[in-house]
Symmetry: C2
Subunit: 170 residues, 2 copies
């Protein structure tokens, strides 16, 4: 079974991101807008029981934090993905490192660049056009994050939430 | 903001249900297969903070329970919805009644018939055809349920999970 760990931002930010994703992201229907903390990894349901307990402990180590979205960026030339850049925080980086070090799955092939995807799998021309346009519109958004979610993937490639974890002490 | 309360069954059952919904349910892309415990209701984010605490208390009152799916049924003539009938249990009925009595929103206009929708908004002919076919295939499934989820709806009508609640004592 495939699992992943994400932060879902507020409805307000999700609605804004979806207004772009609807046109520019073929994964639009598979998962709501999110910040990936650990990308899809394979684990059994038994393993999941163990790491769910670990996730509870990891969540306690980090306090709720301010999420700042400050600009539109692109992963070009690595990929044609356009995204809202999320300012790194000690909490985001700590969660990322803990998940990488303590959960099943291979370590990620790229350094951690926290982001919310707004467009991907675009042609070279589309990418250039849309990126220029969105860069001009820009983004400036702040909100508190106090939770993350463990998801699993269904056969149709959509994601279902298995569990919510709250940052900080209960 | 619109909220709702649901149980997501196991991946196995969701995959089976989606194999039908893909063709027969126009809501297929909006939400994973689920049992509705409280249908969409309007509440403010402030209200949500209050009733989230209440939901935690309600969840503690009920133990994990065995979910049994035993037949294919239809809500005809009330609607053309075809569903997997879920056997009522004291836990499902208790949760339904507590949500109805303690959360915002109007009481539901119909009695509680726990179910997982597999097709809806079908034409009269489609409904008759598909219902006959699925009734013959039938369904026989059991699994433990130990959690429910609070969701909210985005502007594009898809649903995001806000929080997971575990049945029984922590």
């Amino acid at each position: 079974m495939k699992y992943a760990l994400v932060v879902f931002p507020s409805k307000k930010l999700q609605d804004l991101v979806n207004s772009y994703r609807k046109r520019y992201d073929p994964h639009y229907a598979l998962i709501p807008p999110h910040i990936t903390l650990k990308a899809a990894f394979e684990a059994s349901e038994n393993q999941a029981e163990t790491f769910t307990a670990q996730l509870k402990e990891i969540a306690k180590k980090y306090n709720p934090f301010l999420l700042k979205v400050t600009k539109v960026k692109s992963f070009e030339p690595v990929s044609n993905t356009i995204y809202f850049k999320v300012e790194p925080t000690p909490e985001l980086e700590g969660l990322f490192a803990d998940f990488r070090d303590h959960l099943p799955g291979d370590p990620p092939p790229y350094p951690f660049v926290p982001h919310i995807t707004i467009g991907q799998k675009l042609s070279k021309e589309e990418h250039a056009d849309i990126y220029r346009q969105l860069e001009m519109v820009g983004i400036e958004h702040k909100e508190m994050v106090n939770r993350f979610h463990l998801l699993y993937q269904l056969e149709n490639e959509t994601w279902t939430v298995y569990e919510t974890f709250h940052l900080g002490k209960d």
